[in-house]
Symmetry: C2
Subunit: 195 residues, 2 copies
Amino acid sequence: MAGSKPTRERILQSALDLLPRAGFAGLTVGRLASETGMSKSGLFGHFGSQTVLQIAVIEAAAARFNASVITPAQDEADKAARLEQLAALWLYWLTRPGLGLPCPLIQAAFSAPGLTDEAGQTAIQIRSRFAPYIARQAEAAKTEGAYRADLDAALFAFSFEAIGLAVAAQAMRDAEAARHRAEAAFAHLFADAAA
Amino acid sequence: MAGSKPTRERILQSALDLLPRAGFAGLTVGRLASETGMSKSGLFGHFGSQTVLQIAVIEAAAARFNASVITPAQDEADKAARLEQLAALWLYWLTRPGLGLPCPLIQAAFSAPGLTDEAGQTAIQIRSRFAPYIARQAEAAKTEGAYRADLDAALFAFSFEAIGLAVAAQAMRDAEAARHRAEAAFAHLFADAAA
DNA sequence: TGACCTGACGAACGAACGTTCGAGTATTGA
DNA sequence: TCAATACTCGAACGTTCGTTCGTCAGGTCA
């Protein structure tokens, strides 16, 4: 039933590479097998069901998001600086080259019906952690005195997330313009929040 | 090859009803046929290919969006008031009850790989008309003196669209909170743009 | 009445889907 | 060295996919 760990990791990496080209709907066992050079049954044995595979892919994407965006930004102790770092890292994450589609997590959250019910719920749940995390950083920045005391942290987080989503939506037709406008929007957001 | 026009319209309406539940990936000929009570071949004859069907569904969604959001707002001659109307109508469109998923156009744009290449391009193209339209209204509001002269209309449109996307993303987990925050975000956007 | 045409039908096609199973082939531990 | 274990394979399952085809009822107009 269970497969070797390195092989499993290789499968998930292939899945993440395939995802921008095929989407979750096109992430079938057969196609993923031919992509990795394995047999359908050999690949399938690592997961046991389509739902488990989808959830594993979503969690793998989340792990990479954390490693690329969340964790590096935590080097900044100063919360206002950390938020600016988060914005920059997220922007790069969303528009990094060789990416036909945006963040797999965003894709998963919007194409939820293409996924199993359980996998869709997992995607939504993982994504729903982001805005509260941003709100917490903003709240901390307020107590540190960097942000004005009457700032609505939840609204700040909402706007923060909104900019990223708009980038993801526009990056497919003009990544350059999307990034440019997002930088301006983030700058505006930070300026408005400053004490 | 071609089917009767009323039947075709009935099929498209069924497709739009099914879309929030099944997504584009689940919008198969067989399922749609059983939904409408027709045979697969009878339904298929109206379109001739899966791609044509998907494009027809996307265009039907766009037509309903225009009828529900764009057109009613044009009753407002005053551009600043029209933009506020657009925000309110769009917000309702995105969170109207009985809608598991947001605007089919947003869904189509993000799950594009679940669609035929051609249909995905159609969806992206239709959606890409929105931001420039908003920018044009904002530009007009500037010349009317309602908005400040140094407003970046493209950035305004970007932020406008971003709020809607964030609503669509959050509406799946908490529609009430999403709408509430979006109203605040729109108010903030309009206040910042005012002369 | 008879010749059309339209629109929907049932049956069937090859392909791909998720999934199961039993047989091989390494690698391991005693 | 031998048995056990871990991993992968090919073959096959039943189902559904998009698509094609021939047929047949119902209405139109001569």
